[in-house]
Symmetry: C2
Subunit: 257 residues, 2 copies
């Protein structure tokens, strides 16, 4: 029998989850503060009910997914009485304890992905990190998560925090390296587009090699002559970042330098 | 009429170029210091002649491509007398002046890509940066480059140096961010694979947005609470890099901070 799901929220995470769940579960209702947003998402996932009133939430669903901004989760939990179903939130940074004393059966399901309107994502590829209040809650949550994604792993608050920190390096900081590269090119009127094939290759290499194994460049081969020349072409924070990251690479690839 | 090409070298760049050129030009000979390497590459591109002797190079080709390690280029130029054909090297960091006084018609064609045995690359997507000794040399080189790639641009030594520096940020340094992310996960026994969907999304966003526009994360929204918590989870160079890059992002996204 299909699990009956209520989606609370209509933003990027709520939408991605609802769309992914629509073909595997019964989405019985969509809630949003803004009725038209609830209606739009409901229509998109062929769900018969949309509401902007928390007191009108369906009572007999199996799972209630709170996919709203971090600061709004606690208020929703407080405003709706427990009905014995499984309640989960989808935040990477909020603890499971947020439900304590307010629900009997609860959990967290954090999709580690940056969802946006511009880019559709294949949800089965999105790693889902789950945490549950009891073996029963875990069983229901794991069953649900496994219908959505190939990768379901356990992660408590501590592990979610490490994963979030790792994603800051891997995504936010790598993206800032693209920004700095663009600034270097802008000074000569060269277009950023020329770097894209090389950027794609760098990422594709990770399919077969660890990032340490696939590291190349002047620092990886301790080419001090090239590093000095390149550092001297830079000023300000770009120069400081160039020197610090080059040293960090050398420390890992040339322990004698 | 097809351009007649001699390939000098049998490494990753020589191989990628020979394979790309094979369907558009006549590759008349492959040279390598190691005869079996010359023979293997010649066979792969259906070329009748392979040699390991510079004094046996064909005399009547249109273009001689020196795709060997940077430090070996000058020696090859010195050892082979000029025959009036177009001679080019493929190095990003060596100047065109290396041919001066030794050839009449010469140039540089730098493919901005990291070629490897593990990963085949669609050569038409590889940006080629060219520089030539004369309008005639430029015409022949541009014609050749345009048969290989959609993106052919002019770049003298100065611009090649800027492009190389930009690629260090965009590729070598972004890859080091993956290494640091892996170290953060390793401490908790979490697999690096879970980051791959997010890494792919970060790169796919660049199709529609500039890196500055697509920047997300705690620093981009000046979330000092999260940044302090994350920095305190780190030690050593990871903490220094976290602080420096976060500040660099804030400087660009929150000029009042």
């Amino acid at each position: 029998m299909k699990q009956r799901i209520v989606i609370i929220g209509s933003g990027n995470v709520a939408t991605a989850l609802a769309v992914a769940a629509a073909s595997k579960c019964d989405i019985v209702q969509v809630y949003s503060r803004t009725l038209t947003h609830a209606q739009q998402l409901a229509q998109r996932v062929h769900c018969p009910l949309a509401t902007n009133r928390l007191d009108r939430l369906e009572k007999d669903a199996d799972i209630y997914i709170i996919a709203v901004s971090d600061d709004a989760i606690a208020q929703i939990v407080s405003q709706v009485p427990d009905n014995g179903a499984l309640w989960i939130h989808t935040s990477g940074s909020k603890p499971i304890g947020l439900f304590s004393g307010k629900r009997k059966c609860f959990g967290v399901m954090w999709p580690m992905q940056s969802f946006s309107k511009q880019l559709s994502v294949d949800f089965v590829e999105v790693p889902l990190f789950i945490e549950a209040s009891s073996p029963e809650a875990h069983k229901a949550l794991h069953r649900f998560a496994s219908t959505l994604s190939h990768t379901v792993m356990e992660a408590d608050s501590h592990r979610r925090a490490r994963l979030h920190l790792a994603s800051v390096f891997a995504c936010n900081f790598s993206n800032h390296m693209y920004t700095l590269a663009q600034e270097v090119l802008d000074e000569d009127g060269l277009p950023f587009d020329v770097l894209k094939p090389l950027i794609r290759t760098t990422v594709e290499k990770l399919q077969n090699l660890s990032p340490t194994e696939s590291q190349t460049g002047p620092a990886a081969r301790a080419d001090h002559q090239v590093m000095e020349r390149q550092a001297s072409m830079l000023t300000g924070d770009k120069q400081a970042i160039y020197r610090l990251i080059s040293q960090s690479i050398m420390d890992r690839h040339h322990t004698d330098k």
